[in-house]
């Protein structure tokens, strides 16, 4: 017997560990190098505005990531979320960019380490030779430290969550202390507040540049999403930790930036100029001037932060390249795991190449390259959160759902795009390297990865039978339920004939999350038998195709099929009630009606369906006008032609207030569909529209009813009246809903 028990990591990371992991990763990044450079660009007040606004934008993206991490805790990381949402080239490019961004960020941390270490050492006589060629020594030390950490990772020795969080706590406390000392100094020597004058150095525009430039210091919370399998109570703790880490970091950054400005004694020089003259080490120099041993404290904090972040980044970069290769997008060699060390050794080596190349560039360009990539990745995260909530929201179990949706991810993605664009002002090289990297990625995808794309095969067709003939108009009939399969097919066939269309019989094999999708093949035979049985009932003059596909949910499988095949009309069945309170017609039916981009026809077979199925003489079309009613009239006309039945268009005049000429004018487009056929227009008066329709329906064999017109952002299925009629009518009821193109698209995306 096959053993299906999966090994699971022990859950040891608490909310504190997770929060500090994220905070540590962020603090290790930008603050030591980017603060000084940014004050030089946007001025002493500009840096405070930069950090406060970046904190808010980072929080917007953090909320998106927190929502995704809470719903998909096992997946972890930007690449997997974007892959889940989009797949294909976008999924690949997100991983490709993430790999580059992490590797480049790694080189930024290596440079931070070397800059601060040499800054500390050059004060000693024995190391005075460093001053002769500082930049060269910085680069050499950066490469050496990177190599050391690659070796450490290769040996399989990595910090545990516990020690990482302790180091991060140390960093945060050190910087917090520096910030508080800055406040105390400002209170004791208020004249130092004049350092904030002029508040902005070169106007408001430069704030956008420094916001983009320091963004790398706000992205590290992604590491928390990777810890899903090791976290205690991940559904609650992971989203909380992501959000808490952001507020800790924003507060620390603002305090530290304030202290950096207060610490400066510019002596006749503008503060911004003072920082510009010192570049990456400006921050350390200002803290040195703030209090005794300030320089040593900040240098040690920078060294600890950068090494801890470098270690985590090398690990994450290798993990991303390993995942891309494992998914078949890059050569398998990258995902090879060392038998001795059990680490993806080739993935480590491939990441180090990018890291070395980046280390050769000036620090501003390195930081800007990482910034642009992270901004673009988080932009994709914000699109993914909208797409995943729309398409899978009803299936996933969320631990956190962001408020003000979709405004927050939309604002975040627009701002991120803007900041990335503004970084052109900071580094042209960074933008060129980003474009070059993305272009190479696209070429690799279409020349190598596309054919090996496992996610492309996520279309997951298990079996397909195509008729030799084909038609432009396509009607899809999902026949998952054997009880209504025959009825749906009977009506669909008539519409196909009337419109000279083709029919697609489709069935979905659902596979629960715990079972590999490959297991779906075991359940094909039962679906195959059902399709065969239905096929036998259909007149073979019409082209009939059939597909069996597998999916994690029936609704998603059907919606995907509609999209892939450009289906014109889908025919669904409804039993007339639902046991689930949160749904109107049923969990699958609601999702399909909301998500399928085509005309929809829902049939609720009446108690007398069997009696009338081949003997429909009278069809009732209750209507109050509108596009969905026109579709109902079209369907009624098709069926009336086939059965030689008589159609009655019914309008219920509520309270008898409306004059009949006005009603007739409104119903004109509906009546026009019958093109002079023998139809009757019946106007009745009544307070209760549903009751009036049900009373009339008793005299007919079939009722065809269009959805009611809705406001653009209302998310109704068919509307209360048609749904109540269908639920309570004893005769067969057909509900129709027309795909309104852009309006339907807007409703699908923003209507909830």
């Amino acid at each position: 017997m096959k053993n299906n028990i999966q090994p699971e990591l022990s859950r040891e990371l608490s909310l504190f560990h997770l929060t500090m992991m994220g905070a540590g990763m962020m603090i290790g990044a930008g603050v030591f190098v980017a603060t000084g450079i940014s004050i030089g660009v946007s001025g002493p007040g500009g840096i405070l505005i930069t950090f406060a606004l970046n904190g808010l934008i980072a929080l917007f993206s953090a909320m998106s990531l927190a929502e995704l991490a809470s719903a998909l805790p096992a997946a972890g990381g930007a690449y997997t979320y974007v892959q889940e949402a989009f797949g294909g080239v976008i999924g690949f490019i997100s991983g490709w960019m993430n790999w580059f961004a992490l590797s480049v960020a790694g080189s930024l941390y290596a440079i931070t380490f070397s800059t601060y270490t040499l800054h500390l050492l050059k004060g000693f006589d024995v190391f005075s030779f460093i001053n002769s060629n500082l930049i060269l020594y910085e680069k050499i030390l950066a490469v050496i430290i990177a190599l050391i950490f690659v070796f450490i990772n290769y040996r399989g020795v990595s910090e545990t969550g516990g020690s990482t969080s302790l180091i991060a706590l140390g960093q945060t406390v050190s910087l917090g202390v520096i910030g508080l000392i800055g406040i105390l100094v400002a209170l004791k020597q208020p004249e130092r507040l004049t350092n904030f004058s002029p508040f902005l150095n070169q106007g408001w525009g430069k704030i956008l540049v420094t916001m983009g430039f320091t963004y790398v210091g706000f992205e590290g919370y992604e590491v928390i999403a990777h810890a899903g399998e090791e976290a205690i109570n991940p559904k609650e703790n992971i989203p909380k930790a992501i959000l808490y880490s952001v507020i800790i970091v924003v507060t620390t950054y603002i305090l530290v930036a304030f202290a950096a400005v207060i610490g400066v004694k510019p002596e006749g020089m503008a503060v911004a100029e003072w920082f510009r003259a010192r570049g990456a080490t400006g921050f350390a120099d200002s803290i040195k001037a703030l209090f005794p041993f300030g320089g040593v404290l900040v240098t040690l904090a920078a060294i600890f932060s950068s090494t801890s972040a470098l270690n985590a980044t090398i690990y994450s970069a290798a993990r991303v390249s390993f995942a891309i290769s494992r998914d078949g997008f890059l050569p398998k060699v990258i995902s090879l795991v060392s038998k001795k060390r059990r680490v993806p050794h080739v993935a480590f080596l491939s990441s180090i190449i990018i890291l070395f190349v980046a280390a050769a560039l000036p620090v501003e360009d390195v930081a800007a390259s990482a910034d642009i990539m992270f901004l673009l990745i988080f932009l994709l995260i914000n699109v993914s959160v909208i797409k995943i909530r729309k398409e899978m929201g009803d299936e996933l179990k969320y631990g956190f759902l962001m408020p003000f949706f979709p405004a927050i991810p939309l604002i975040a993605l627009v701002t991120q795009l803007m900041l990335a664009f503004w970084l052109f002002d900071m580094s042209v090289i960074a933008w060129f390297s980003t474009i070059a990297w993305i272009s190479v990625g696209i070429i690799i995808y279409y020349t190598y990865s596309h054919s090996r794309d496992k996610f492309e095969s996520k279309k997951m067709i298990l079996e397909e039978q195509r008729d030799l003939k084909s038609r432009d108009y396509q009607v899809m009939v999902p026949i998952n339920n054997p009880e209504n399969a025959e009825v749906l097919t009977q009506y669909a066939e008539k519409i196909c004939r009337a419109r000279n269309g083709e029919m697609v019989l489709m069935s979905v094999v659902t596979v629960p999350d715990q079972i590999p999708l490959e297991e779906a093949r075991k359940f094909v035979s039962e679906k195959h038998d059902l399709i065969k049985r239905v096929r036998r009932m259909i007149n073979h003059d019409q082209p009939i195709h059939s597909i069996i596909r597998y999916s994690r949910s029936v609704a998603r499988g059907i919606i995907s099929s509609v999209k892939e095949r450009n289906t014109d009309l889908i025919v669904l069945g409804w039993k007339g009630y639902t046991k689930l309170q949160s749904f109107v017609m049923g969990s699958n039916l609601d999702r399909i009606i909301e998500g399928a981009a085509c005309d929809i026809m829902v049939i609720k077979p009446g108690k007398t369906e069997k009696q009338y199925e081949n003997n429909i003489r009278k069809i009732l079309v209750p209507s109050n006008g509108g596009l969905h009613s026109i579709m109902a009239a079209e369907i009624a006309k098709c069926l009336a032609g086939f059965y030689n039945a008589k159609v009655t268009v019914l309008n219920v005049n509520r309270f008898g207030k409306e004059v009949s000429s006005r009603i007739q004018r409104r119903l004109k487009p509906v009546l026009k569909q019958f093109n002079g056929d023998d139809i009757e227009l019946k106007l009745v008066e009544g307070d209760d529209v549903v009751k009036a329709i049900l009373n009339e329906a008793d005299k007919y064999d079939l009722v065809v009813l269009g959805a009611t017109e809705e406001g653009l952002f209302q998310q109704l299925l068919f509307g209360t009246i048609p749904e109540k009629v269908a639920a309570n009518c004893e005769k067969t009821v057909i509900l129709t809903k027309r795909d309104l193109g852009l309006r339907s698209w807007f409703k699908r995306w923003f209507g909830k």
Binding site: I49, P198, L200, I247, F400
Partner: protein, 50 residues
């Protein structure tokens, strides 16, 4: 006081304040979802009125 300084301070305080408020609101959402054992978007939206 110059106008740039005033506008700058307003931006800093409102951005930081909004960050804190959103985190507090999000924390409440996370805890309610957990307490009430809510699952999908439909249940959560209905229960929490999001």
């Amino acid at each position: 006081m110059d106008l740039t300084l005033i506008i700058g301070l307003i931006i800093i305080l409102s951005a930081y304040g909004m960050t804190c408020l959103l985190i507090i609101k999000s924390k409440k959402i996370i805890e309610k979802i957990n307490q009430k054992r809510l699952n999908n978007t439909r249940e959560i939206k209905k229960e929490l009125g999001l």
